[in-house]
Structures are given as C-alpha cells and as structure tokens.
C-alpha cells in the first residue's frame, strides 16, 4: 500500500540545514497496523507529514497504492488527501462550530456528495464509533475520548486507503487511550490499513508491527505479537 525508497528530508534553519530523514526505506501492505516509534526529534512527525502529503520529501520515492506522490499541485494534493488518506490528530482538530455529524460529513462534502447521502453515511460511521446519540452535539459538549472517536469517524468517512494517526492518544488518559486503541484495532480487523505514530510503548504494542526511528534512520523494524486493547477495557 505504501512504498518508500531512500527518503530524504532536511529543513533549513537559517544558514545551516537540519537533516531530519536520512534515507528511509520501508513498505506497508494492505491491512497492516503499524506503529512508528521514536523519541522526539527522531523524524517521525516529518515522516508522517510526508506520508500525509502535507509536506514533500527532498528526494526519494513515495508510492501510495501504486500512485507516485511527487510534485503535486495544491489542488492535486487536496484531491489525493481526500481520496487516499484519513487523518487522526493528537488534538482532535474538530471544527468547533460544527456538530459531530457535520464534522464527520466534511470530507464527503469536499467530494461534492449530495447532502442527504453524505449525512446518512456520516451517521453510519458515527454509529460505528458508538456516538450516534451525540451526532448533533458540538465538539465542546463532548469528552476527549468522544472527540477522538468523532475524529476517527471523520477520518474513515471518505473510505481512505490509509489512516494516519499522529499521537492519537497523546491527549487522553490511559483508560480512554485503550478504548480508542480498541476501536482502532477493530477498524484494522475490518481490513483497513492504519499507521500510528506514537512514543508510548503500550500503544505501540497494540499494533502488529513497530518501526523504530532514531535520528532519521530506521533503527529496527519488527513484527510483534499484538496486545488486544479489549483486555484492558471493561
């Protein structure tokens, strides 16, 4: 699903440049649940931004579902993001004057799906994350866990090829984190490809594979035995 070859990225900081990614190679197949781990400064956020087409690599290849991602115009990038990717952020990033349902329907709106159809579909995904009754509540009326679940529903609404989660449990307490991870695992069980960036060991071990990043290179890339989050959830 994702193919990366010899990816380089450096940032200019005044006169000197900071080499953040130093030639990454890896691939993710369909249906995988991969954690990218690393301390701060290891380049994991940069990698995620590049994978998310929010940023572009200096050199190297990036193929997403067989489509080369290179030299995209803003318009094309917006299209690909909408079609291929679902984002889940640490700080949820819901639009606070839109209710849960509208937030979930947003990516569909950008696809110009008719209003009715869009709302039905959004409702379906809200139901899937267990928030049907909260559909017409504004984000500030929801708890952190609920917000993240709305965000997950939103990420899935456009039926993307890959879900990209950036520290998705970073703002949540551990109980809620496990609940969210349980949801992520369930979504993965349905065959969705998910990539989780985290620095929390227990979250990483709830994935099926961990890629360790250190100083811009892959230190270790191993398949692990998945810890089911349901074990922690009552």
């Amino acid at each position: 699903m994702i193919e990366i070859k010899d990816l380089h990225k450096s940032y200019k900081m005044g006169s000197n440049s900071l080499h953040v990614l130093k030639g990454l190679n890896f691939s993710i197949k369909e249906g995988e649940l991969v954690a990218i781990m690393g301390s701060s400064g290891s380049g994991k956020s940069t990698l995620l931004n590049i994978l998310g087409m929010l940023d572009e690599a200096d050199s190297g290849e990036y193929m997403l579902d067989g489509v080369p991602i290179k030299n995209l115009t803003e318009t094309k990038a917006a299209q690909y993001r909408n079609k291929f990717l679902g984002f889940i952020f640490q700080s949820f990033n819901l639009i606070n004057y839109k209710n849960a349902l509208e937030n979930v329907a947003l990516p569909l709106y950008y696809q110009r799906m008719p209003r009715k159809e869009r709302q039905e579909k959004a409702m379906k995904y809200l139901e899937q994350v267990g928030l049907k009754e909260w559909a017409h509540h504004l984000p500030n009326e929801l708890s952190g866990g609920q917000k993240q679940r709305v965000a997950i529903a939103r990420a899935m609404a456009a039926e993307p090829k890959v879900l990209l989660a950036d520290e998705l449990t970073g703002a949540l307490d551990s109980t809620t984190s496990y609940e969210i991870m349980e949801l992520i695992q369930r979504i993965n069980d349905q065959g969705n490809t998910i990539l989780v960036v985290t620095h929390e060991d227990d979250i990483a071990h709830m994935c099926k594979r961990i890629v360790y990043l250190k100083d811009g290179v892959i230190e270790k890339d191993e398949k692990i035995k998945q810890v089911r989050a349901s074990a922690y959830v009552q």
Partner: protein, 419 residues
C-alpha cells in the same frame, strides 16, 4: 455558489462574533448612507432651483436696444434706436431653428412706479405687457378662467386683457365676476377676458400681478407705433440659443446700422447660459457627493478587508484541518470572498434602506412645514441605487481578495503543528 452548506457556514462565521461583525458592517453602512444622503441633498437643491426657474423655457434669450457706442456709416455714437415689428420677420428670414420670436412692450415695472390701472374705486400699479399669443409658451402660465390672447385679438387690435391672480385680488371683491368687466389701463378701457396664475415661485407675488394685452392694441392704445420694447426668442429643441444669439444680434446690427463690433448697442440676457451655469454647479456638487461618498465607503471596505484578514488568521488552524481533509484551495478562497461580499452587501443594503428612510422622513417633514426656498423633493434615482449595489459587490470582492489569498497560503502542516 448557492449551496446550503456554504451559506450556513458563512452565517456561522459572521454570527460567531456579533459585535465585531456589526462594527465592521457599520463602516460600509455609513459609507453608503452618506453617499445616498449627499446625492439626495444635491438632487433636492437641484429640484429646488429648477422649481425657481419655473416653467420658463430655458432655451430662451431676451434682447433689447441700448444706445450705440460707436459711430457707423455716418451715424454718430450715442444714438438711440428701437427694434421694429418687422424685425421679427427679418430674424425669421435670416436665422433658422428658432421656435418662437415674441416682440414685447411693457408699461409699468422698469419705467414707472405710479398706479396705472384703475377699476372703479380700486387702483394699482402693475406690469402691463403687449404680447403675441406665443408668449404663453415662453413664459408659461395657467389660464384659470376665460382665455389667453389669440391672433384675432392681434389682427383686430381688440382691447382685451388677461389679468393675474394678484391683480384680481386687488381690484375685485371676493367672488365678484371678473370676465366681461372693464379695467382702465392708463385711461384706456380694456375688457377682461381671462385670468392666469403662474407656477413659478420665483418673483412670488410680482409674477401674479401682471396684465397681458394684445401687442397691436397695446401699440395703438399707448402710442408705440411700430416700436418693440424687447424680444423673447426661443430656439428649437436640440439647438442652443447661446449659439444662435450671435447670429441674431448680427442680423439686428446690420438692420439698424450698428457698428459690427458695437457689443453694447444690443443688450441681451441668455437664460440658457444662466441655466447651464447652474446645471454645471449641480454637476460639480454631484461629483463632490460621489467622491466624498466613495472615500467614506472605501474606508468601510478597508475595514471589512481588515476584519477578514483577522478572521482568516483566527481560523488558520481550521483552514489547515480542512485542507488536510482535502478541501480544494479554491473552495477556501471562495468561502472567504463570499463572506466578504455577503457582509458588504448586507451592510450596504442596510445603508441604502436607512438612507431611503431618512430621505422619506425629510420629504414628509418638507410636506408638513411647506416648501422651503431652494430645496425640494430630495431623492436618488434607482440607477444610482443599482450602481451603488454593483459597487458594493465589486468592493466586497476586492475586500475579500487579499484575505482569501492569505487564507490559501496557509500550509496545513503549519496550521496543524501541535503547540
């Protein structure tokens, strides 16, 4: 563009900070309001002045003789001369495109002050004019009873008179029959066959205190012979009397043996020129109104632009999220511009409505307290309002353009960076 979600969002954004939105809108509101009021005030003044001009045909000149100032063809300077009745035909033959040429004679007014008209025990001093029937087109009046002078009067030299409302009030008792009675003008009896009333507020009382008699009977009764006191000449529509008057005066100079360069021998008053002067004053005032209004409006628009910039700044993160979710940059730009246009139009419309209400109130007040000198019926035309609306749309577009540009410059990665 007319999509429910987009408009819902526009309303959500604009209503999320009511106070700020209203303050911003006030700038544009005030600009349009001032523009409308200024234009209406200008129009009111114009209407007032035009009213004072009355119905007098404005494409008209008056011409009279004075003493010559240059000797010519053996004739001395300081010679006095008179226009003659035949001059009318001479002018007709030599100058085309003239609609009316009315020779006139006058008693009272300029020449003397004493009472010249008597009826029974009543007497008064009035302007008495010897006129042709056409004069009613050049110095319009409403005949309120009886009739005006006609050509039978002229040809048969009938001693008939048409008197003004003011004359009637002076010489007759209330309710007394006027038509068929006689008045004595400088000792000569004239049969009253009509009464008139002038619309013009100019001259006020004076204008209603005139007496019109046939030119020929006037000449005979008061011993004027073929002399003509002055002429009122009106050009045809589409021809300016200001252009034609040179030719007319030239013809008269030749006829009366006046030196071609003697500019003082024939006096004239060009109503058209005066009217044009006033007209250009109004045009100037309109321009001032437009310029002042536009600048006030401009400051309002800058206000809108400013606020939109702040809104975009505030929503940087939101715009970043939207772009991460795959919103087209153009869609974001359109959103910002629409917000700006919407705000501008709503506040502009409010300005137009309040301006119209204000004008309405002024008109109602004027109607109540009666006519005010030189001011009447302030108004703005639909064309002006339509133009103002168009200007609003365009300025909304401009006001939104820079903020919209800065909105799509937001890079998602920066917007989403966790603090």
């Amino acid at each position: 563009m007319f999509n429910r979600d987009r408009w819902k969002e526009i309303l959500e954004v604009l209503t999320s900070n009511w106070f700020r939105t209203v303050l911003t809108a006030f700038g544009v509101f005030w600009g349009i309001f001032i523009l409308i009021i200024l234009l209406a005030a200008g129009k009111g003044l114009e209407n007032g002045i035009n009213q004072d001009f009355g119905d007098i045909a404005t494409n008209t000149m008056f011409m009279w003789t004075r003493r010559t100032t240059k000797p010519y063809q053996g004739l001395p300077k300081d010679r006095s001369f008179e226009f003659k009745r035949e001059d009318v035909q001479t002018i007709r033959d030599n100058v085309p495109n003239l609609r009316f040429i009315s020779p006139r004679n006058q008693l009272g007014g300029f020449s003397s002050g004493g009472n010249n008209v008597v009826r029974g025990l009543n007497a008064g001093a009035y302007n008495v004019y010897g006129d042709y029937p056409e004069i009613i087109n050049q110095d319009p009046m409403t005949v309120t009873s009886g009739r005006f002078i006609n050509y039978n009067d002229i040809n048969e030299k009938r001693k008939v008179a048409i008197i003004g409302q003011g004359v009637k009030n002076d010489l007759y008792d209330k309710g007394e029959e006027v038509l068929g009675t006689y008045i004595k003008i400088q000792g000569v009896n004239f049969l009253v066959v009509g009464t008139y009333k002038k619309n013009s507020s100019d001259g006020g009382e004076e204008a209603q205190k005139e007496i019109f008699v046939p030119f020929t009977s006037f000449s005979q009764a008061f011993n004027y012979g073929e002399d003509v006191g002055w002429m009122a000449i009106t050009a045809e529509d589409g021809h300016s009397i200001s252009v034609l008057k040179e030719k007319i005066i030239d013809v008269m100079r030749k006829k009366h043996k006046v030196h071609p360069e003697d500019n003082r021998a024939i006096g004239h008053f060009d109503l058209y020129e005066q009217y044009n002067r006033v007209e250009s004053l109004f045009a100037g005032m309109r321009w001032i109104a437009i310029i002042v209004g536009t600048f006030v409006l401009l400051s309002g628009i800058i206000g809108v632009s400013n606020i939109m910039l702040i809104v975009v700044k505030e929503r940087t993160k939101e715009i970043g999220i939207r772009r991460a979710l795959g919103e087209h940059p153009w869609s974001i730009k359109k959103q910002v511009i629409l917000e700006s246009i919407f705000l501008t139009i709503i506040s502009g419309m409010a300005g137009i409505i309040f301006g119209a209400l204000f004008i309405y109130a002024v008109n109602a007040l004027l109607a109540n307290v009666g006519p005010v000198d030189m001011f009447m019926n302030p108004s703005v035309s639909v064309r002006v309002v339509a133009t103002a609306l168009l200007v609003l749309v365009v300025s909304g577009l401009l006001a939104g353009f820079i903020p919209a540009q800065s909105a799509i410059r937001v890079r998602p990665i920066e917007a989403l960076r966790n603090e």
